[in-house]
Amino acid sequence: MNVLVYLVPMAIGLGAIGLIAFLWAMKTGQFEDLDGAAWRAISDDDLPDDENKK
């Protein structure tokens, strides 16, 4: 059962990474506009078009 000594802390560590990712997402306002994010995913404004050339 000695394998548990590093397996379980590893599992918790992975969970902690998830938690940190969540806190980062909160801090940078990723949850401010849940409806808009769904639409932005399919918007194509990263493709060059004649109006948006830089």
């Binding site: 059962m1 969970g15 938690l19 969540f22 909160m26 808009g36 639409w39 932005r40 918007s43 404004d45």
Partner: protein, 728 residues
């Protein structure tokens, strides 16, 4: 006269050299709108960035300070097809948003802790806790402690803070038993782990915090969303006034930026946006939004005018006065303060439940401890059993029972066009048995329309409509709208009297009956339509008189009849003339009505009703209704209501129809039933779980199952609030 809008009031400066403004945008609902707005604004030179928030229907624009006028952004947006309204976010907004963020952060931490402890707990439940493997068990217990203690210390703070605050004021709230339960559970678990005992309750403690936080977060989120909607509506409605600067320049300025002592211009046909004294000009003013009185009154220099009234005839220059100086407003404010003081304090369902619940739980735990001691158990195992009783009974489902229903019911109401302003408004709506309506603007539409269309020949009607287009008078506008006129006649306007034109060899006139020499016809029409305002038209052959009245809302009769059928007592209290109120009351089939009431009279009537044990819903829109709204058990306003009035209402409904009120009552009743059902469900759960715990058979597994099971049950039940049916 050049008119530019002064927006400096709304511009923020987040960083030096950068200006930013928040706008509420109408009509944003999909991805295409986001792209159009953001790209369209980015093309404006000087704009550094624009970000649309689709959930709150707002745009934040940033630009380099000085390179662009904020007005240009509004123009750009409206040319893109999205009318936008600036708003200054209130401080309250950011406090609420911060609280919501804090709860969500706590929820995240608690969820992390619960998930990881479950990982370990599943192993413990399924055999790792057997006595042969005590080293592994202790290792697992210590790991659990390592995860749970810091997580609870962080995520439990909303409860701990509120509990200490309550205790410091020698009062008691739901958070006190929660704090005691969680702290004892953790202390017990640590002590058990130190003694190599079989059972520890780390998982129960974190799960409790998680479920309770979920309830708390839902509650907070609903409150903030309703506030967001209210802020948006206020911004869209935000009136502007034409401010006259010292050099005579006229600037359209948001009301929020106007100071007492400023001079403001109100043109004929404008809604007067401020309270003040007339300095120059003569006109007639329609005060129906303020007093409910539909007949216009004449004003001259020195007269007091009120915000929300309609300037009918001539331009007025108004010196803005402080709100308290006005006699009517004075009275309204005074009554309002008194009404709020006397408002019966409603105790929320959840608080009532917890008041009943807390002493029972603590007494049960205490008597369990004493009982086991008496039977002969030593104090330590007796204490362990007593604490498990506390853990099992901790109000986990109770914390979710009410907020879950509230969230579902509030979103159901929102779909029907009703927005809740206060959280407990839902519960108070459910208790209503008497509905008191205001007439003007509430039972009737806020805009005037033509009543006697059938009496008028089509060609006369068309001619009158074209002539009416030339006038700014609201009655003329109503005639033009009813006639569907599009090509105006080049008429000459005599302010305060009417318009006239020489058309195909005949003189046509539209205006007051006196001006058109149609007094006889006017008297006949007035007898038929006692609540209407009259405007006369002198045509090629004869004179006709149009009766313009505020017609009842299209579904008012059906809704009022429906509510009466459901057993509500219905009454009309109006500040308007008895003939006008009587006509509407007869049309809607309401037997009980009172007219010509002052704000104090309305409150007196409500007081009589309440002393008779009635639960009164007041529906009103006028400034004169504000004290009555505050004095009633619960209140609803239409969206067109005066600002002060809307602020007093527990809910606001949108649109021209009255049906949302009936819908809101159905949903509220259903929601209250579900809340009570939920509270009973958690009580029944306790009836089953507590004896097991008292007898000492409650293991951590049973606690976990019972807790999550009852929470799921309660949440699932809450979802039924989406569908509500009429009663009877």
């Amino acid at each position: 006269m050049s008119e530019t809008q002064d927006l400096s009031h709304f511009v923020r400066h987040p960083v030096a050299g950068v200006a930013a403004m928040d706008l509420v945008v109408e009509g944003v609902h999909c991805g295409a709108c986001i792209t159009t707005i953001e790209k369209g604004l980015a093309r404006e030179s000087g704009v550094r960035g624009a970000r649309v928030n689709l959930a709150s229907k707002r745009v934040t624009v940033e630009w380099s300070d000085g390179e662009l006028k904020p007005e240009a952004i509004l123009d750009r947006l409206s040319s893109l097809g999205y009318p936008a309204y600036p708003f200054a976010a209130a401080n309250l907004d950011s406090v609420e948003a911060a609280e919501e963020k804090r709860l969500l952060r706590c929820l995240g931490v608690a969820a992390f802790g619960a998930m990881n402890v479950m990982l370990i707990s599943v192993a413990l439940w399924s055999g790792a806790a057997d006595s042969s493997a005590w080293a592994t068990r202790d290792f697992f217990h210590w790991l659990s402690a390592l995860v749970v203690l810091p997580c609870v210390a962080y995520a439990g703070r909303p409860f701990f803070d509120s509990a200490t605050k309550a205790l410091r004021q020698f009062s008691f709230n739901m958070d006190v038993p929660i704090t005691i339960g969680v702290t004892l559970a953790l202390a017990l678990s640590v002590a058990q782990t130190l003694q190599h005992a079989r059972e520890a309750y780390f998982d129960s403690a974190i799960m409790l915090v998680l479920f309770l936080l979920a309830g708390r977060y839902l509650d907070q989120r609903m409150r903030r969303r309703t506030r967001d909607v209210a802020t948006n509506l206020a911004a869209i409605k935000a009136e502007t006034a034409i401010k006259l600067n010292a050099d005579g320049e006229a600037r359209e300025t948001p009301i929020a930026a106007i100071q007492p002592g400023d001079l403001v211009l109100a043109r004929a046909g404008d809604r007067i946006a401020v309270d003040g004294v007339v300095e120059e000009g003569r006109s007639e003013v329609d005060q129906s939004l303020v007093t409910g009185e539909t007949a216009a009154i004449a004003v001259a220099p020195g007269a007091m005018v009120y915000a929300g009234t309609l300037n009918l005839a001539g331009a007025l220059r108004i010196r803005v006065s402080k709100a308290a100086e006005g006699t009517l407003l004075d009275e309204v404010n005074h009554l309002l303060e008194r009404a709020i003081e006397q408002r019966s304090s409603y105790v929320r369902l959840a608080d009532r439940a917890s008041r009943l619940y807390t002493p029972v739980v603590h007494l049960t735990a205490l008597s369990t401890f004493i009982g086991w001691l008496l039977i002969g158990l030593s104090w330590q195992p007796a204490l362990v059993i007593a604490i498990t009783v506390l853990i099992i009974t901790c109000p986990c489902a109770l914390g979710l029972a009410v907020p879950a229903v509230q969230v579902v019911a509030a979103s159901a109401m929102f779909r029907h066009g009703v927005m809740l302003n206060s959280g407990d408004g839902l519960e108070r709506l459910a208790d209503v048995d008497t509905i008191v309506f205001d007439k003007t603007g509430t039972l009737t539409l806020p805009q005037a329309s033509l009543a006697n269309r059938d009496d008028i020949a089509p060609d006369e009607f068309a001619l009158a409509g074209s002539l009416a287009l030339a006038s700014k008078h609201p009655l003329a506008k109503a005639v033009a709208a009813a006639a569907g006129a599009t090509d105006p006649l080049a008429a000459h306007e005599f302010p305060g009297q009417g318009v006239t034109v020489f058309h195909e060899g005949k003189r046509l006139k539209l205006g007051s009956p006196v001006y058109c020499k149609a007094e006889a016809e006017a008297a006949a029409v007035a007898a038929l339509w006692p609540d209407a305002s009259l405007i006369a038209f002198r045509g090629p052959e004869r004179a006709v008189v149009f009766a313009i009245r505020q017609a009842p809302r299209p579904d008012a009769a059906a809704v009022v009849a429906g509510l009466a059928r459901e057993g509500y007592a219905i009454e009309i209290l109006s500040g308007d003339r008895p003939e006008a109120v009587g006509k509407v009351a007869r049309e809607l089939g309401v037997a009980r009505f009172s007219a010509g009431l002052k704000p104090a009279d309305k409150i007196a009537r409500l007081k009589i009703l309440r002393e008779a044990g009635r639960h009164v819903l007041m529906v009103g829109d006028g400034l004169n209704d504000a004290p009555a709204l505050a004095a009633a058990n619960v209140s609803i306003s239409p969206i067109s209501a005066a600002h002060l009035t809307q602020a007093q209402a527990d809910a606001v409904f949108l649109g021209d129809r009255l049906a949302p009120i009936a819908e809101a009552l159905h949903i509220a009743r259903k929601a209250k039933a579900l809340m009570i059902e939920n509270l009973w469900m958690s009580a029944i759960y306790n009836f089953i779980a507590v004896p097991i715990a008292i007898l000492g058979y409650a293991t951590p597994l049973i606690a976990a199952l019972a807790m999550s099971g009852s929470s799921l049950l309660v949440t699932g039940n809450a979802l039924r609030a989406r569908k509500a049916r009429a009663r009877g």
